[in-house]
């Protein structure tokens, strides 16, 4: 794809070409350095006063004034992409049972080997199997999304929008079938709609 866009030989990106190899211009004024210092100070001072004015305007009630590009993370979130690969969930049938048929495709394709499935007979004779256990060890998961691609039944998805599932113990990183089944897909802006699950063995600290 890059070859189609740029016919020039590799390693000669146009932006790396100019003036960088040329000797630095050394007029006496630049060697004296003071003018360059002052122009640099002017730049940073201009940023300071512009941002200070915006901060003041915001403090006085102008909500559209932004003196900083910071997103105050736990309180504010930037909208996530709908393609974001976040915490897995198991898709449910209409009766609430997992859509998964325990075909082991995801367990087989998983490069991190973090999925552990125990198959069982499904009471409905039209459905061959169902998982008795479906555990994902998120401490091992690399979030490659191969399990989602491999699944023939569209039974596992990574669209919950949940990214905060750290734990103080390894056991707390193992998510069981019940937890995974209880999760909901994220809203249109990527904000999770399901409460952040707390599996057994996980110690919750703080709010």
């Amino acid at each position: 794809m890059t070859a189609e866009r740029s016919p020039r030989p590799p390693g000669t990106h146009p932006r790396s070409e100019p003036a960088s190899r040329a000797p630095l211009p050394r007029s006496p004024l630049q060697r004296f350095y003071l003018r360059e210092v002052l122009s640099g100070l002017g730049l940073t001072a201009a940023h300071f006063f512009r941002n200070m004015r915006l901060h003041t305007a915001r403090a006085l009630g102008r909500k559209d004034a932004h003196g900083a590009v910071t997103i105050q993370y736990p309180e504010e979130r930037r909208p996530y992409s709908p393609r974001l690969r976040s915490l897995h969930r198991l898709v449910r049938r209409e009766d609430g049972s997992p859509r998964c048929v325990a075909c082991m495709m995801c367990e087989t394709v998983c490069p991190a080997r973090c999925i552990y499935i125990v198959a069982d007979e499904h009471p409905n004779p039209e459905i061959e199997k169902m998982p008795a256990r479906f555990d994902i060890d998120l401490g091992k998961c690399v979030f490659c999304g191969f399990c989602v691609e491999a699944c023939p039944e569209d039974a596992i998805r990574m669209d919950t929008g949940i990214l905060e599932f750290s734990s103080y113990s390894r056991g707390g990183m193992i998510y069981t079938k019940e937890t995974l089944l209880s999760l909901e897909p994220a809203g249109p802006d990527g904000v999770p709609t399901s409460p952040v699950p707390i599996p057994a063995g996980r110690t919750v600290v703080g709010p």
Binding site: G40, T44, A45, N51, G67, A68, V69, T70
Partner: protein, 371 residues
């Protein structure tokens, strides 16, 4: 006997005011540094430390820092020189604190029949005293570097010594012009002389003879060398956290905090000294001891307490502006290499200072002493 008690109280109040001024300002500088750099870089800066949900723009972070540093392990390297290792941070902070003593923060205040100069210590060699204290401050850094028994710390201490020598010479030479113009080593006298009009035969009484106007070259040289004396970026080779970490590499807890504090105290001292020498100290333009006397003839009589308050306020404002400029430099320029800083000090600042002295002498000869 009551007179001596009152004298003692006044002396104590003078020292206490200066101590509170410099300690509070120095402590606040950690907050200023964080917030100013953040605003310059389109960030918000540390704002999470809260007491009962109140954050007041991150002002609790210096408090949180102090608690953290006081409760950390006080590490002592096994092969360190115990006495010098423990002494070093105290030496650094002590000389940073006492250096401010002879910088005046206001004109004399008359209480009854007493005349109180508004400075902690009245010295007729005030300039030399401040330089002496600033130069002694580097001993703390050298002691830290040597006593840590760490090669990187030793390198840092040695760099600090080299930097201090090249900076101090430029500082001393650059203010020679100021001393020649105002004819005194007493900082109070220098500040008082800056209240006079600049070239009254040309400009009338419009422009005060601040050092910035009479000695513009010396101002640039002095601020540059002064920033070097504070050992902060762009002259932080003694520290150099990206290469040698520097003289305090073995320090932890509050001893490390004291080195950081010494840097801030020196920043305040340099800002105060720059204010006194070049920005008119406590002078408010057109403010005479009796009140305002504007050059267009209007006068505004003010009680003496108001005049003193205005002067102290002007001094504080000028110091704060100077600190702002020094912080601006610190967060704008990258660090000089060791040899670049040496070259700047010895081949840039020092010859220019000498040139400044010569030129000042020539101008004083030509214009006469009434300028």
């Amino acid at each position: 006997m009551t007179a001596t008690a009152a004298d003692f109280g006044i002396a104590f109040a003078r020292v206490a005011f200066v101590m509170m001024f410099i300690l509070n300002l120095g402590g606040l500088l950690t907050w200023v540094e964080r917030k100013q750099s953040a605003i310059m870089q389109d960030r918000i800066g540390a704002n999470r430390a809260s007491i009962l949900g109140f954050r007041i723009m991150g002002l609790f972070h210096p408090l949180a820092d102090a608690i953290k540093m006081l409760t950390k392990e006080d590490f002592l390297p096994a092969r360190a020189d115990r006495f010098l290792f423990k002494m070093a941070p105290f030496v650094s902070v002590f000389f940073g604190l006492v250096a401010f003593a002879s910088i005046p923060f206001g004109d004399t205040l008359r209480l009854g029949d007493r005349v109180i100069p508004l400075q902690a210590v009245t010295l007729n060699v005030g300039v030399l005293y401040v330089f002496a204290m600033l130069s002694l401050g580097v001993y703390g850094v050298m002691m830290a570097g040597w006593s840590s028994s760490n090669n990187f710390a030793l390198l840092g201490g040695q760099r600090a010594a080299a930097l201090m020598i090249s900076a101090e010479i430029a500082i001393g030479a650059s203010i020679m012009g100021v001393i020649m113009v105002y004819g005194s080593l007493d900082l109070m006298e220098i500040v008082r002389a800056q209240g006079a009009a600049l070239l009254p035969r040309v400009f009338g009484a419009w422009i005060p003879a601040w050092g910035l106007l009479t000695q513009p070259l010396a101002f640039i040289l002095f601020v540059t060398a002064g920033i070097a004396a504070t050992k902060r970026i762009p002259f932080d080779m003694p520290e150099g956290e990206s290469e040698i970490i520097g003289y305090f590499v073995e320090y932890s807890g509050m001893k490390f905090g004291m080195f950081a504090m010494a840097d801030f105290l020196e920043t305040v001292v340099i800002a105060g000294l720059t204010t006194s020498l070049f920005l008119g100290g406590w002078q408010v333009p057109y403010l005479q001891p009796a009140g305002f006397a504007f050059p267009w003839g209007a006068t505004l009589h003010l009680p003496q307490a108001v005049v003193a308050l205005l002067q102290v306020g002007a001094f504080s404002l000028k110091v704060v502006v100077m600190i702002f400029i020094m912080m601006l430099v610190r967060w704008t320029l990258p660090r000089f290499r060791y040899d670049q800083a040496m070259r700047l000090g010895w081949l840039g600042l020092f010859p220019l200072s000498i040139l400044n002295i010569v030129m000042t002498g020539l101008v004083l000869l030509l214009v006469g002493s009434d300028s």
